[in-house]
């Protein structure tokens, strides 16, 4: 018993943020409902969700700008509901950066140190060190409007980190950047986070960003946490149809459960029987279900004999071929699935654009690549 409680204390001490049953209601509208999760120290968590899913509200509650209407948030095991933002040791990078336009880059970075009464003599050296960390060494004297968008991002990061906060919050700061710069900054966030080991919570609607930067991903929808998992796990084993649909490109085949054999489920759809793997609450025989197949798990071939090792093979007609550079997206109309359009990624570098609209093709996938969810 003493050993067990000691072990529990160790694990509690390694938790940076603990969100317990947190809810936020504006009258009858619930922006966040019963959110609970623990975030270990040093981890990079991304809260992923569409706009209006409650992800920003959750972040603002952790920052202290809004108070939860139910539940409690613990930072380093202390409840923080009664602690105003300026007394929490949290660095935040805002959506519109919120840099102070009347100060230089260095004055912006020095601001939290001054406000937190750090030793004034050590401030210039520390400011320069953090500007170098974000690769802006020597830019301290520039005014904010003299910096490019990417440089402003870096100043905002340095300002949020310079006072060595317990927690770094990122409120979609990359949303406004063009794609190239955004991907560069994603890697930059990851590098800095690994270098300093600061616990980080990032909010975004960009599934790619979530997969690239995070140690863990929380998917939110309708104010509820849908899944919390490592990025690979969230991608490969989505907990429900929402997650399956939100991350990646997924085809859903609706039908009813015809038979079950352990984890394997036979789905009757449009007069055919397809085999897949059950996920979560197993749907009962006769119950409505949806089979989800990722676009990249589907093989496409001119004839069925090229796909004879696959469990499910269906014939169809190419409706559209979309060239996306590193891959082709085919939209294939499948008569056996009630003329449903199935999206297929083709990464074949040799036979690029091998099919054109109107071509007859065959599609095939493995039973383990179709996840069957209860409807």
């Amino acid at each position: 018993m003493p050993a067990a409680s000691a072990e529990r204390r160790v694990s509690r001490e390694s938790i940076a943020v603990s969100v317990r049953d947190v809810g936020m209601a504006f009258g009858d509208v619930h922006a966040v409902r019963n959110a609970s999760f623990d975030l270990p120290k040093g981890k990079f968590l991304t809260i992923l969700g569409p706009s209006g899913s409650g992800k920003t509200t959750l972040l603002r509650m952790i920052a202290g700008f809004d108070a939860p209407t139910s539940g409690e948030i613990f930072i380093n095991n202390s409840p923080v509901s009664a602690v105003p933002p300026h007394r929490r040791a949290i660095g935040m990078v805002f959506q519109k950066l919120a840099l102070f336009p009347h100060m230089t880059a260095a004055e912006n970075v020095a601001f939290p140190l001054k406000m937190r009464r750090h030793d004034a003599r050590a401030i210039p050296e520390k400011v320069e060190r953090y500007l170098q960390l974000v690769r802006l060494g020597g830019y301290g004297g520039r005014r904010i409007n003299e910096l490019s968008g990417g440089q402003q991002q870096r100043v905002a990061i340095a300002r949020a980190l310079v006072f060595e906060p317990d927690l770094l919050l990122l409120d979609e700061p990359l949303a406004a950047l063009d794609r190239k710069l955004r991907e560069e900054m994603q890697l930059e966030f990851r590098r800095i986070q690994k270098e300093l080991g600061v616990t980080t919570i990032n909010v975004t609607h960009d599934q790619r960003e979530a997969l690239v930067v995070s140690d863990e991903v929380i998917v939110m929808e309708g104010g509820r946490i849908q899944q919390k998992a490592e990025p690979v796990h969230a991608y490969r084993s989505p907990a429900n149809t929402f997650v399956a649909n939100f991350i990646g490109v997924t085809n859903f085949i609706e039908g009813v459960v015809a038979a079950r054999d352990g984890a394997l489920v036979s789905v009757a759809a449009h007069g055919r029987t397809l085999t897949g793997v059950a996920v979560g609450d197993a749907p009962a025989t006769g119950g409505a279900c949806a089979g989800a197949v990722r676009a990249e798990q589907i093989r496409i071939a001119p004839r069925a004999d090229a796909l004879d090792r696959l469990d499910t093979v269906l014939a169809g007609t190419v409706a559209d071929a979309i060239f996306e550079g590193e891959r082709i997206v085919y939209e294939v109309r499948v008569p056996h699935l009630g003329d449903q359009l199935v999206r297929v990624f083709d990464h074949d570098p040799v036979n690029h654009l091998q099919f054109s609209p109107g071509d007859s093709v065959c599609l095939g996938w493995n039973a383990r690549d179709m996840h069957v969810f209860k409807k």
């Binding site: 300026h86 919120a98 009347h102 601001f111 939290p112 406000m115 300002r159 949020a160």
Partner: protein, 314 residues
Amino acid sequence: MRKSRAAYPLTWRVMDMLEAIAARLWPARFARALPYLMLAPAVLLVGILVLGLVQIGDSSLRVLDTSTFLMSEDYTLANYQRALTESFFATVAGRSLLGSVIVTVITLILAFPYAYLMVRTPSSALRNVLLVALFLPFFIGQVVRAYGWLIILGNQGMVNEALGLVGVPPMRLLYNYPAVLFGLIQYMLPFAVLMLAPALTAIPAELEAAASSLGANWLGTFRHVVLPLARPGLVGAGLVVVTLSLTDFAIPAILGGGSQDFIANAIYDQFFRTSDQGMGATLSLLLVAVGSLLVGLVFMLFGAGTLAMTGERK
């Protein structure tokens, strides 16, 4: 071809016709002159004002002959000498200048929280109430409002009656310097709030959230973020209040009861009581000079604020 034309709405064809007429009357090669043409009425109005100033300048150099009540034929600087040496004028000038500075400082201090609340409150109902309360005095007018204060602050007024209920003997609340300053502050407050509000709206609320997440309490946020960014609004509002109160006539006349004259009242007396056009003109020019000097000084120290309209801020 005709059919497709008929498909256009009537208003489009009317606009086409008007444009054709405009092109006839004002061919495209005159286009560069158009902005100047639009400027002409305003320039003309200001020009008439300048003519008036020249006339006043001329009058200011003539003295009143007290035996004939006619202006002298010769030019002399006697009026200026009198205005700068006689202690009566120095007293009036000092009272006006000090008064306008005090009024400006207090008005800005009072207007800032009002404007801030109006801009930042999440409740649109409160914002509307604050806005309506701001505009209400404009509908009443300055003179009527000053008379209102006479009723409220008079010896048998509401304030003295209320004081009487708690046993305080009636006090003379009117016809003194504080009464004039009080009236001016009350009159200037809406102007200051209306000048400050746009400047505060231009400060993103996110900046204040950022400051607090970086460790600044409300005082730190106010001093280092809100106040510096609100400076253009404060300068603009300050300039408007200082010039309006320096040149005000009605409030010192009514609430001062003749004992608290500002420069404008002295000018009025010269023109309409003693009929000394020369002296009135001299005082007017001196007021313009002092006012311009004051505004110039503020421009040099603090910049032109929102009045600069350089459009460099995003």
